[in-house]
């Protein structure tokens, strides 16, 4: 099982699509590791630098509604994975991106807007970090000397995939 949690990267916009997460021109790379430099390359947000230190140190992405819409490319979760990001927290996800995350043994966590607003209130904190407990289905936001815990829910299947480390081994064993 992967480890979850660490410094947070805040992407404050709805409908961030998979072309923004990893542009199509890089889909010709054959290994996941080759995707690493191109994370979020085409995402234009005020104050966001895809090559900045915050992107490099991030272990968790926090965003808004309909995260990961568009293409089915699993390169989107992979580019997060090879950059050390194993969890995305958002108000909602596009179906294919969400399933791709769990299929890779990564976590796509949905929180209500009010909880996300509290997470986003830490966007300016240099030490903003989130620790995630998949078993307990809870996460703790810390930063700027404050700390607060939120609960979330994963479907039993998605939780099983995260704990099993992904869908291929699970399916080959069971079907």
């Amino acid at each position: 099982m992967k480890t979850f949690g660490g410094p947070a990267l805040f992407l404050d916009r709805s409908d961030i699509n998979t072309d923004e997460i990893i542009p199509a021109k890089y889909l010709t790379e054959i290994t996941k590791e080759d995707l690493k430099p191109y994370i979020l390359e085409d995402l234009k947000l005020p104050g966001f630098d895809p090559k900045g230190p915050r992107t490099k140190s991030a272990r968790v992405v926090v965003s808004r509604a309909n995260f990961g819409c568009g293409s089915s490319r699993e390169h989107a979760p992979w580019v997060f994975e090879v950059n050390g990001i194993t969890a995305v927290i958002a108000e909602s996800f596009a179906r294919i991106f969400r399933q791709n995350m769990f299929n890779c043994g990564m976590a796509a966590i949905e929180l209500p807007k009010a909880d996300l607003d509290q997470l986003f209130s830490h966007a300016g904190d240099a030490d903003a970090a989130i620790s995630i407990d998949i078993e307990a289905q809870s996460l703790t936001m810390s930063g700027g000397g404050k700390q607060k815990t939120f609960s979330f829910s994963l479907s039993p299947f998605d939780k099983a995939l995260v704990l099993a480390g992904g869908w291929v081994d699970y399916a080959d064993k069971n079907y």
Partner: protein, 427 residues
């Protein structure tokens, strides 16, 4: 209680429900292309599981970048080609026979009503036009599909779209689906099947129904689904005449996949097309739509006709009708990519290619290329393209480029005027 089409298909294909709400389904067809499949193949090899569940139910094509443009894309094509040969996958389409997957596979008659279909491509929802459940999935789901012939889904809810009215002049399936996406938003159908009903859909050709279902994903939909009917049977007849005594018998069989009259829906949305006008997108999301008449002056650098949305013969005929005897504006680059070799050849025989060439269009081979900014028509920073494709995300057709989505008629009229233009005066 009656059932929706998706509920009937789920019930008939259910392998098990390992957890409440998660259904593992048996797959009828697994489709593959050279962008998302090679990593699945590599992973299967790495795991010592280089097997396929049934070579006759796997179909593969090289379509996204073809002919290969560099060593990397040549390697992707080679991995898929070698794999298809190694596993005796008969229905593999390479240079000379290859075309855009969601146009090519239906043309070959591979998709039937009631089928379950997956592909590592978000526009797989296109195949729901045949009354199938067809969903785009990622590489891991594809890998399991190839190995085991199953895929896990959350049971989707269904939104029924009751589409009524006669399409006005200059308004097509593309305008209808852009209108619907504009109405419900880019996540209006997330985890939902979009089931299309009504007299407008019944009157549509299979090509138009594919255009409609193709863009279900742009509203977040899992699959678009049309109801199988006589039009479906007529399209499939060359492929199924050995299976059924008559077209009536085929219709009776396929009709069992139609939704029941008393099926329960998550929502029912009424769409009246009688007052629609030609539509274009104006922003970077497919739900940002306006009537062309209400758009500000929008000069263009490129017009692109093609893709899994609108690269079929019907689309080429409509665009050629607008372009006949005219020249495109000198400030515009016109590019046409017929979606399959068959479409290309029929367009040649009908004289459509002459019309496009005399108008000043460049004709490229069938490929996905420019739609996702990979080849054959990539935009430069700051350039604007009127396109019959399906996504207008920022940078989609090239970094810093802007895409306006529209019907083939509107794109053709726009090519003539060098700016986004209403096609009705050319019809």
């Amino acid at each position: 209680m009656g059932k929706t089409t998706a509920e009937k298909i789920f019930e008939a294909h259910l392998v098990e429900e390992p957890f409440p709400g998660t259904k593992v389904l048996k797959l009828d067809v697994v489709l593959c292309h050279e962008i998302t499949t090679p990593i699945a193949i590599d992973d299967l090899i790495r795991r010592g599981k280089d097997r396929v569940f049934d070579p006759s139910r796997i179909k593969a094509v090289i379509d996204h970048v073809t002919p290969s443009k560099d060593s990397k894309t040549a390697t992707q094509a080679k991995i898929l080609r070698d794999w298809a040969r190694r596993h005796a996958i008969r229905d593999f389409f390479d240079i000379g026979a290859n075309g855009v997957c969601h146009a090519l596979f239906p043309e070959k008659g591979f998709i039937r009503p009631g089928n379950t279909v997956i592909m590592g491509d978000s526009h797989t929802c296109t195949h729901g036009a045949f009354g199938a459940f067809a969903a785009g999935i990622g590489t891991t789901d594809l890998e399991v599909g190839i190995l085991k012939g199953v895929c896990a889904f959350r049971q989707p809810k269904t939104i029924k779209f009751n589409v009524t009215g006669t399409l006005p002049k200059g308004v097509y399936a593309k305008d209808v689906i852009l209108h619907i996406i504009g109405k419900i938003g880019v996540n209006g159908a997330t985890d939902r099947v979009m089931e299309f009903h009504g007299e407008t859909i019944s009157a549509m050709t299979m090509e138009s129904r594919m255009t409609l279902c193709n863009m279900a994903i742009e509203a977040g939909g899992t699959s678009g689904i049309c109801q199988p009917d006589a039009t479906t049977v007529e399209f499939l007849w060359p492929f199924i005449q050995g299976e059924f005594a008559s077209k009536e018998a085929a219709l009776t069989e396929y009709s069992k996949w139609a939704a029941d009259a008393d099926a329960e829906y998550d929502q029912v949305i009424e769409i009246d097309v009688a007052t629609l006008q030609p539509i274009s997108t104006f922003g970077y999301k497919p739900d940002q739509v306006k009537f062309v008449a209400d758009l500000p002056d929008t000069p263009l650098d490129q017009v692109y006709l093609g893709s899994c949305t609108n690269g079929r013969l019907e689309d080429l005929r409509i665009a050629a009708h607008v372009l006949k005897g005219k020249r495109i504006a000198p400030t515009v680059r016109g590019i046409l990519s017929p979606a399959t070799p068959k479409i290309y050849q029929e367009a040649l025989h009908e004289g459509l290619i002459d019309i496009f060439m005399e108008a000043g269009f460049c004709i490229t081979n069938p490929t996905c290329g420019a739609c996702l900014g990979m080849s054959n028509g990539v935009l430069a920073e700051g350039e604007v393209c009127a396109s019959t494709t399906n996504r207008n995300f920022m940078g989609r057709m090239g970094k810093g480029g802007m895409v306006h989505l529209m019907s083939p008629a509107t794109a053709a009229a726009s090519a003539i005027e060098g700016k986004i233009a209403d096609p009705r005066k050319y019809l």
